[in-house]
Amino acid sequence: MFTKRRRQTDPKEAILKGIYQENLRITGKTAAVGRFGPRRRTWVQLAGIATVMATLILGAGKELKSSYGPKAPVTPSRAAPSAMGAFGPLVNSEPAPPTAESDGASLLAQVPVWDFTAASDPQREDYSLLLSRDDRVRLSSLFGLEVKTIVIDPGHGGHDPGALGALGTREKDITLDVALRLKERLGKVGRYHVLMTREGDQSLSLAGRVVFAQQHKTDLFISVHVNSLPDQRLNIIETYYFGPPLNSETLRVAEQENKESGYALGEINAIIEDIGSTVKRQESARLAAAIQTSLFRNVKSHDALVRDLGIKMAPFVVLSKVEVPSVLVEISCLTNETEEAKLMSPAYREKIAAYMEEGISAYLDTNHTIALHGEKKDD
């Protein structure tokens, strides 16, 4: 008969504590413990909170007058502080060139880091934690945001088939099927209200999708697409979040997915200038990294040839006007005949949905358990 072991070394104690903490995370019990009260605020509320915080940080000085505004134009990385709104310049290095072996760590390294260190305002020194470059300090966590509603957007539909495979597979059918499976999976978690921009084969403009997300006050927006490449031998996975284009290839993909956007050219320019808030950018990049990591790692476990093109910024219309973390996932390549054959299998589409769910869950878990410096004491 077993009895309690008396010989417990330090590694064992640490390991047992680790098991206990991991199980707390799995059951979501840490979610109830937080230094900032209940996490039942929406992304929309954040705008107000962020504004208050920005005001506190910068005071009512002239710098605020010159830089803070809802539509401050932003240029890609290294923009002047005055052009970046109240939170300062975005140091957003271009994601590393695609490699076949990118992993989660490298993807997270690509997540934009907000550099406040250049600020000369002495008042900022009192807010070193909030303004830290340490990417563990996330405004979403600081403000106790929680995801309640998730909108999944199956790309294309109706008279817009999207990409076409050599065997006759249409992108719109694959995106709808994977999105439905993803919806069911996320719904089973029981914590989220999961909606879809379309649940059948119907035409829907990009503007219509944006309106849908806004009307339903979504907290996360995930657009599902299948890639189409000139080189039919390639199979790649990539995930985009809204931002200025980084190269001609991302522009090509954006142009492809922005067809029939429903916005006029003038509006598009305004959209490009209206790049989202700090939180949206931070969280979109993290969500993109989590999905991309899971999708690539899992697909690679049974397809050695798949390539990881990582997370990228691109000016997709459908991502621009949704004021919450939003990503566009290119789950596969329809121009690759082998991949097309696999996509025709329901089991494979179920796997893709499962991999996406894993990534989204990882992102949402991190939202719950992000370790702020003070919270570490709770361990």
Binding site: F2, R185, S301
Partner: protein, 338 residues
């Protein structure tokens, strides 16, 4: 009886092919992960039980709605019946561990695949919750490592039916990057072997279940220890067939992914300690019984320096015993009541 003695700790290895339980009262049990319900009231009366498990379920499968509810070590998706089958399986295992004894509290630790999705871990916790007072889940190779006390500078490879799980131990709780799960495991060999046999012997009549048993009896990599001759019915007549080459090719199909993952995990270890890890590779699970596997891996790893690969003494109960050891060692304050 003191309060402490009224607590029953159990470790459960919920496997795709076999499930095992080890309890702090000394009871151990395993069964094939099959659950069957009688198809109708006639079958119910003939069989005399509302639900059958393992070998007994397989033997009576024609009269049963039979389920193998775990796929790659996790709950099959989209089937309420599969969830019900896992619940029955867990109930059966825990009841056999309890026996006739009454316990005021049952604490369970359940092994799941290393990279199991969080929702699956939660689903398992919810299912076990009906039969235990407090539950935790851990990764399967990690529970094996804990049971073997291989907590530092070691790599455990748990070769199951649905998954092959790797865990590298650094003396701490293994992080995500210390664990891998690949899907080329026992079931993969079975399917491949079945395909190859159907191609070579199109007139032979056999099932996947028969192929699985051939594998369990004759699996090997490298040079064959002896010809593998099995009896397969051809138009009803038992006929001897040589399946040596098919067995070898099917078993060796898991090696490339296995070696790649081993090397990748070792390469991620502190360079000063890589030699120690190479000398402390432990094979566990049913797949560890493949003949020639240990020698093959040592041959491959030797190219990188001295190495030693060991096979866990008890492949069937390694996971359950490790989970039980954790449950016994776990401080009381970490067990939260529901």
């Amino acid at each position: 009886m003191t309060e402490k003695q009224e607590i029953l700790n159990v470790g459960i290895d919920l496997g795709t092919s076999r499930s095992a339980i080890a309890a702090s009262n000394g009871r151990r049990n395993w069964l094939e992960s099959f659950v069957g319900w009688p198809k109708d009231f006639v079958a119910r009366k003939v069989l005399g039980k509302p639900v059958l498990f393992g070998e007994e379920a397989l033997e009576n499968r024609l009269a049963l709605d039979i389920y193998r509810p775990l796929e790659r070590g996790v709950l099959k998706e989209g089937s309420e019946r599969s969830a019900a089958a896992v619940r029955e399986l867990i109930r059966h295992l825990i009841e056999t561990a309890k026996g006739e004894n009454g316990y005021t509290q049952t604490r369970a630790i359940v092994g799941v695949p290393a990279e199991s999705f969080k929702v699956n871990k939660l689903a398992i916790i919810n299912l076990v919750a009906d039969f235990a007072d407090t539950i935790m889940v851990v990764s399967e190779p990690f529970s094996v490592a804990y049971g073997l006390n291989a907590l530092t500078n070691a790599m455990v490879i748990d070769i199951g039916a649905g998954t092959m799980d790797f865990c590298i131990m650094r003396g701490t709780m293994p992080a995500e990057e210390d664990q891998r799960t690949i899907l080329t495991a026992g079931d993969y060999i079975d399917t491949l072997l079945e395909t190859m046999l159907r191609e070579r012997y199109p007139h032979a009549d056999f099932t996947l279940n028969m192929v699985r048993r051939f594998k369990e009896q004759y699996s090997f990599v490298g040079e064959p220890p002896e010809p593998v001759i099995v009896e397969l019915p051809v138009t009803g007549k038992p006929t001897r067939h040589d399946i040596t080459q098919e067995m070898r090719r099917a078993c060796e199909s898991i090696l490339p992914g296995m070696v790649e993952t081993i090397l990748e995990l070792i390469a991620g270890f502190d360079p000063e300690f890589q030699k120690k890890v190479r000398n402390n590779v432990i094979l566990a699970g049913g797949g560890s019984q493949i003949r020639g596997l240990r020698a093959y891996l040592e041959g491959v790893l030797r190219e990188y320096g001295p190495c030693q690969v060991q096979v866990a003494a008890d492949p069937l109960f390694g996971g359950a015993d490790g989970a039980l050891a954790m449950a016994v060692d776990m401080p009381d304050e970490y067990w939260e009541k529901k």
